[in-house]
């Protein structure tokens, strides 16, 4: 057992209201610089929809992630040989057209326009060239466009859905959508790291955050192509790639990342998971339907004395182990099994998990129209308005089993709480539904508490990062204290 710690995340999609506050918080802190205007390290997508960059889940086009070839785990986009032959032109590299051309408005024209009979307008100008442009796409261009013929119907996750199910998704009376906020998954088997010709990308040993060393990055762009989630971005102005840093400077000072901190719906959870690094390769090679179980088996029980001993042997600080024991992520992923990894079939073992969304309740179909009168209070999840196969393509590598389990448990908790607080459902029925969903009353109460009543400290259990020990490696802490802030003297600008 080779125990390592990883900062992991859970997004509770049933609570997401699609307000994009997270995206704005991130943009204001990290990507308001020249060359990064088009980047959204955090973005919120409407599902069904095409996402950002457009149709990023279509790996036939983007060639991201890993695949099993003759029992070997290989990158789809590159290899040692391909790094040599494709170094001058990366054939899997997306271009700005796949994202969008960032723009701003000529606001000064509102004030400087000559007096006339027309209302002055602020015309859009490109943030790359400064020229007037016609805005034709944007980072959330299909926001709320569930059911649209152009966007929602092009969602790669519709694969395997029947014609009837597809039509249902776009029929005006029945169309349904949910939100899908995304950041870097800080994967256990990151394809971006494995693809970097310069070795500039790395995973931090102590907390698993995946970063790009800006001084070692030579701009070969392999990571952009290799990340199946398209969460590494190329800065066209500095010629370097950049990605979500999980706000590590905030984490190191005990603060939640900006997108987590600002989340209005309080959908985000953050905590430490202990995992067994010895079994990573073995798990990443499992068949699709076993990947979720495999990843769960990597995650170790932080209360197990054997795990604690092995963690201590690996120099994991007691405070980090304690943090892992209080981790909300551990509860959602491992104990309750209601949080699932996105697209685990890409085999990067993402460490951001999603609680799948329940479809709208209190609605029933009546002669092709939706009526709010229902004979059953909470309809069966099989009749969910978002087809299960669609969610399974997103969160179950195409297999419904784990997804149905997670949804059933969520529904059972709702029924149970309804029985308890309103009382129009008999407690006997509620308990039967709980049993059927593999959930006890105590567990239901704890799921309810962590979902609905959770405080800031319960949602974000941030371990002490012990950066002071890193400094002790190099020099005297007192000496360092007088010199902090002077590590990177040059501005991120290019010379000639």
């Amino acid at each position: 057992m080779n125990v390592r710690s990883q900062i992991s995340m859970v997004f509770h999609l049933d609570k997401c209201i699609g307000c994009h506050t997270c995206s704005i918080a991130c943009k204001n802190i990290w990507t308001d610089r020249k060359g990064t205007e088009y980047m959204w390290w955090n973005n919120v997508e409407t599902k069904p929809g095409t996402g950002f960059p457009t149709k990023w889940e279509d790996q036939e086009k983007y060639r991201g992630g890993w695949e099993l070839r003759d029992g070997k785990l290989v990158l789809k986009s590159t290899s040692k040989a391909k790094t040599v032959t494709n170094i001058f032109h990366n054939p899997s590299m997306p271009s700005m057209d796949d994202y969008y051309e960032p723009w701003t408005y000529k606001y000064d024209e509102l004030f400087n326009a000559p007096e006339g009979s027309d209302q002055p307008t602020a015309r859009p100008v490109s943030m790359v060239t400064g020229e007037y442009i016609n805005v034709e796409s944007g980072p959330n261009w299909d926001d709320d466009l569930g059911g649209s013929r152009i966007y929602a119907e092009s969602d790669p996750n519709l694969k395997g859905l029947s014609e009837e199910q597809r039509q249902q998704l776009s029929a005006v009376e029945r169309l349904v959508l949910f939100y899908f906020p995304r950041i870097c998954n800080h994967c256990l088997n990151p394809s971006c790291v494995a693809s970097c010709p310069s070795g500039a990308l790395y995973k931090r040993g102590e907390d698993g955050i995946v970063l790009i060393d800006q001084k070692r990055c030579r701009g070969w762009r392999a990571c952009v192509a290799a990340c199946p989630y398209k969460k590494t971005f190329y800065n066209w102005s500095t010629g370097k790639s950049e990605k979500c840093v999980l706000c590590y400077p905030r984490l190191e000072t005990g603060q939640a990342p900006a997108c987590f901190h600002s989340c209005v719906g309080r959908i985000r959870y953050l905590g430490v998971l202990l995992y067994d690094a010895d079994r990573l390769e073995e798990v990443a090679k499992l068949p699709d339907e076993q990947l979720i179980d495999g990843q769960r088996s990597l995650i170790l029980d932080p209360h197990d004395p054997e795990v604690i001993a092995a963690a201590r042997k690996n120099n994991i600080h007691d405070s980090v182990i304690e943090s892992a024991q209080n981790s909300p992520v551990y509860k959602f992923v491992k104990e309750w099994k209601i949080a699932l990894p996105p697209h685990i079939e890409y085999r990067t073992l993402p460490m951001l998990f999603y609680v799948p969304p329940m479809s709208p309740v209190m609605a029933n179909r009546n002669d092709d129209t939706v009526s709010s009168v229902s004979d059953e209070f909470f309809h069966d999840i099989e009749q969910a308005r978002v087809p299960l196969q669609f969610l399974a393509n997103l969160f179950g590598a195409g297999h419904q089993g784990k997804l149905v389990y997670a949804l059933k448990k969520q529904k059972a908790v709702r029924v149970y709480r309804r029985a308890k607080t309103v009382g129009d459902i008999p407690m006997k029925t509620a308990e039967a539904i709980l049993r059927e969903a593999d959930c006890t009353v105590e567990e239901a109460e704890r799921i309810y508490e962590l979902t609905s009543l959770c405080t800031f400290e319960e949602r974000f259990v941030i371990p002490p990062m012990h950066r002071e020990e890193a400094i002790e490696m190099m020099k005297d802490p007192q000496e360092h204290k007088t010199a902090v802030g002077f590590g990177f003297m040059e501005p991120p600008e290019r010379g000639l």
Binding site: K80, D97, S237, L280, E490
Partner: protein, 247 residues
């Protein structure tokens, strides 16, 4: 007054200039790597324009690499080149393929320049230094091509006349007897090469020095630890694909 005759000019161009450019190259490229490693790369514009990019960059790079390697090989083993050229058929093969490679790089360069002028986004990331490099390359490749056409057979006389001159520079006993007698087009080719060496460390050309060869033997995953003490003991030899890079 100074005698600015052809002899002094030749000394300046073929003795002083190569040493100056080489020293400049070494000092500036090392200094820049140490103090401005952030800028040590080319500035790829593939992200801004992805289609035309292929038709310029790929022929140019493959062409120029073949031509450059040809010069280096002839510099290292001139006797073998002369032996190879002793047979007309082999000479034609060598000269023909070298010429094709140079032509390929020229076609690629023209394509690159057209792309830099016509694409409005790529224009934004094109600097004055880029244009100097383009100009330098045009002079370099065109002079090389015309030398190949008008002063045959270059591969043979390069091995027998130019290589001794270059070696005389390397051994710090400069001897420009052969060079002074060469046609002006050949001289232009040589001086243009020195110019490029002198200018390279200031420009995007430094990307040649950081070609990512370690990728060919490193393990796929990279993990960095704070320091040696915190790195797990006993698991330093990582299983399978997962490697720990040193700090």
């Amino acid at each position: 007054m100074f005698d600015v005759g052809p002899f002094l000019l030749d000394t300046v161009l073929f003795v002083v200039f190569p040493y100056v450019s080489l020293v400049l190259f070494l000092i500036v490229s090392i200094r820049r790597y140490r103090s401005e490693s952030f800028t040590y790369s080319s500035l790829s514009s593939q992200f801004l324009e992805n289609k035309h990019h292929f038709w310029g960059l790929v022929p140019f790079h493959y062409g120029i690499i073949v031509v450059l390697l040809g010069h280096v090989v002839a510099f290292l083993v001139p006797r073998e080149i002369l032996w190879w050229n002793s047979h007309p058929a082999r000479l034609y093969i060598l000269e023909g393929s070298a010429f094709m490679a140079a032509l390929l790089s020229m076609v690629g360069l023209v394509s690159i320049i057209i792309r830099r002028i016509t694409d409005r986004k790529v224009r934004m990331v094109t600097s004055v230094a880029d244009w100097v490099i383009f100009g330098n390359f045009i002079v370099q490749i065109l002079s090389g091509l015309s030398v190949a056409i008008f002063h045959s057979w270059g591969s043979s006389w390069f091995a027998s006349l130019a290589v001794p001159y270059l070696w005389s520079l390397v051994t710090l006993t400069p001897d420009i007897t052969y060079v002074t007698a060469m046609p002006w087009m050949v001289k232009l080719h040589i001086v243009s090469a020195y110019t490029m060496i002198a200018f390279a460390p200031f420009t995007r050309l430094v990307h040649i020095l950081v070609v990512p060869n370690p990728y060919l033997w490193r393990k796929p995953q990279v993990v960095r630890w704070y320091g040696i003490r915190r790195k797990p003991k006993g698991s330093v030899a990582e299983p399978g694909a997962f490697a720990d890079a040193a700090n």
